[in-house]
Point group: C2
Chain length 111, copies 2
DNA sequence: ATCTTACATTGACAATCATCAATTTGAGTA
DNA sequence: TACTCAAATTGATGATTGTCAATGTAAGAT
């Protein structure tokens, strides 16, 4: 027997959420986003991310594009490099689900 | 510039999480799980869920199975009917992301 | 025992997807 | 200008997926 709930999202919201879940529902992409999140500078370039995956550079680029299009990563190009970092949405999802914990945050115990 | 984070999940955890994200990353399945969550008794049978989807009964049954296998729904058969309800994991995901709000819960404002 | 009713399963098919190899783009460098 | 390097894009291919129609199963009803 589970707790009754109220739903809070419009169909448009749900469509976006489904897109984000779908983007995260692939082991490679989940690893990629975790690597970005865990990187010291909170951003990473394709050349950093590619070796860990065992995949081709083109494939990694492809997955990163999907994450960007889902609103989970943002891309900033500096010189020849593309740096990827988490969006607020991605940050929210990872921390809400306790997949990642913000370093500076300490919540009161009754939350 | 985003907040630095610490990762908390083992590879095995991440594999499960990816499976759950994947299961939720389909509009039909997301609607299904929302319908179950929103139902008055916190459970629903296939015959209740099918009409809203515009899909075949067999297809709905298929999607429900995927959600069960991902650990998001549980099935309990009573008589001729199969009743589906949220697991704790699904409940946690939906409420953590504010997709659903537990009726009895009221958090202090500073959380 | 036969017939419904509710659901699960199977087989088939079109569409989507993950991946690679190869090429292109675009920015800095010699 | 020509060259190099990082990343994006393209085209092809095999695998996975969402869907349906049809069939199977199992529980109650007649």
């Amino acid at each position: 027997m589970s707790t009754p709930v109220v739903l809070t999202k419009s169909p448009a919201d749900l469509s976006l959420i489904a897109t984000q879940f779908k983007a995260l529902g692939d082991s490679t992409r989940l690893e990629l986003i975790m690597s970005v999140a865990a990187s010291a500078t909170s951003e990473a370039c394709v050349c950093d991310l590619t070796p860990n995956t065992g995949l081709t550079q083109g494939t990694v680029s492809h997955h990163l594009r999907i994450l960007v299009e889902a609103g989970l990563l943002k891309r900033s190009q500096r010189g020849k490099w593309s740096y990827y970092s988490l969006t607020g949405a991605a940050h929210g999802i990872l921390t809400s689900l306790n997949i990642a914990i913000p370093l500076h945050l300490s919540k009161p115990a009754n939350c």
